[in-house]
Amino acid sequence: MRILYYLLEKEFLQILRNKSILRMLIIAPIIQLILMPLAADFSVKNISIAVVDHDHSTVSRQLIKKITASGHFKLTGYKDSYLDGLSMVENDKADLLIEIPIGFERNLVRENSQKLFITINAIEGTKANLGGGYLQNIIRDYNSELRMKWIPPNSGPNRGQVISIASTNWYNPYMNYHLFIVPGILVSLLTAMSSMQAAFNIVQEKEQGTIEQINVTPIKKYIFILGKLLPFLVLSVIVFTLGLIVSKVFYNIWPVGNFGILYVSLIIYLFAMLGMGLLISTYSETQQQAMSLSFFFTMIFNMMSGMFTSLDSMPNWAKIVANLFPPSHFIKIMRMVVMKGSDYSDISSHLFWMFGIGLFLTTWAVLNYRKTIN
């Protein structure tokens, strides 16, 4: 135990002395946490829309007003011909083009039906999809408004039956996208810092040759490993705590659930990720190798751990793969505890998975870590 103390003392001295590591570990994640959620926002605003109005009627003007008043769209062009409007789409000046045919109001009144044409620029899939969806909703709303207005109030049972849907969004009533993405980004920052930095630190000793000096001492392998991983566990817990504070200050997100549960899960998660860092270090002779390996895994983790997209929409085999990634579980836990206030019983399967993966990775790494070369 005394030996462990000297190891820890040395690691902390080195980490605290190295300003660039401190910046990397503390300041970079905070800046990322402040900036990244702004980009990773899937609720679409500022969709440019161009209008070709052949009708120039009260109804068509009201419709356009209703669309621009929704907040999702901004009117970037008001054209006289479809071709003019299309060229705006082609030049990326408009994402959507809506064409109101001649006689729109008249036909609506007389024949009770009319067609609208929407052209969608589908290069940016999400934007186009959501934009199209928003637009249809608005038009449907407007449509039923019109019907209410024009059908006499005492016209009996035929008075346009409407099924209206009243939906409530549980746990995130205002569909605030930040509430979904911020906990996920915090996990991904933690992933990068814990396993990568631990791996780099160990490999750096290999590069500098100091590890050989350690290997000729009678120091036990598990004590050396503990001495290497514990400092990064402590730093990760600090980064996580700072992350929670940043989330509160900048996004007003504060966990609904129990902090004890959050931190117990965090420790289990770090156990798995530091095990992975150690494993990477045993397979790397240079920091460059460690960097490439870590980068490979972090990329996959970021895309496949359900941070941006739902895991449930993946094919089954891919779900099984994603289940083997500790971040998938921790992101789930974070969202459940932060948004719903879930209890141990709700997250136990995720804790079990993370612990199992951690045990596997760490055992593998310890077996592969050798003081003596064969």
């Binding site: 030996i3 000297y6 190891l7 040395k10 500098q208 100091t210 000096q213 064969n374």
Partner: protein, 247 residues
């Protein structure tokens, strides 16, 4: 001094695939001796030394270091040896004092012992003023002297030095050898590899490795006599010029 062998090997061999880095080495080193381990680049010196230190598992043969078996009692060996590798092995981003404290600590010295050792080393190396200087800011020669002193901070029976004076100026080399003699006088056995033939003259006995085998082993005086040479340079040249390996 009692004639006790602190290192004894028998047909010690290390193969890397088809390449035989060290071939059936048989030699012994007596307690308190300064044993020079010479050889051209790639002759297998470092391989042999790493096997003795427990850093490398031998392919075959026997070996005892400080009374312990090199296969089964590596941890016991490690308690009783010091090692200074070819690569500089102190922490650049720690101060002189912190390095001494760290290595003393992981060798299990008590707080008091560490304090006493630190004071002793700083005086011996005349580094009192530099105690709080980062090791990266010391000149190479000072670093090497410090590395040597730290390698024997736990008073080992044997210290292994792998080309400790590479790249160091002649004056500092001379001072370095003073440290070696000083340690030897306290009963520490010195096992040292070097390229400098004048340093070979300082050793009690030297072995010269050529292409993975020990080509000669005796005191410098006897070797010069045997090969009819004026100095160790000539001895080495006669033995090593036929070497097929090299960098």
């Amino acid at each position: 001094m009692m004639e006790v062998d602190v290192i004894r090997t028998e047909n010690l061999t290390k193969k890397f695939g088809n390449f035989i880095a060290a071939n059936e080495l048989t030699f012994n080193v007596k307690k308190g001796e300064i044993f020079g381990f010479l050889g051209a680049n790639g002759a297998g010196k470092t391989t042999a030394m790493r096997m003795l230190c427990g850093l490398l598992e031998p392919s075959s043969g026997k070996g005892m270091v400080a009374g312990y078996d090199i296969y089964t009692q590596r941890d016991d060996i490690k308690k009783n040896i010091g090692y200074m590798s070819q690569k500089f092995s102190l922490y650049d981003d720690l101060t002189v004092r912190e390095n001494i404290r760290f290595y003393g600590g992981i060798y299990g010295l008590s707080r008091k012992e560490i304090a006493a050792k630190t004071a002793e080393l700083l005086t011996e190396l005349q580094l009192e003023k530099e105690a709080k200087v980062l090791v990266s800011q010391l000149p190479l020669g000072w670093k090497q002297k410090l590395a040597f002193s730290i390698a024997i901070v736990h008073d080992p029976q044997i210290v292994f030095l792998d080309e400790p004076t590479g790249g160091v100026d002649p004056v500092t080399r001379r001072q370095f050898w003073d440290l070696i003699y000083h340690a030897s006088a306290r009963g520490v056995t010195i096992f040292v590899t070097t390229h400098y033939m004048d340093e070979a003259e300082y050793c009690n006995r030297v072995s010269i490795m050529v292409d993975g085998v020990i080509a000669a082993l005796d005191s410098p005086a006897n070797l010069k006599l045997k090969y009819g040479a004026n100095n160790m340079d000539e001895v080495f040249y006669q033995l090593a010029r036929n070497a097929t390996r090299g960098e």
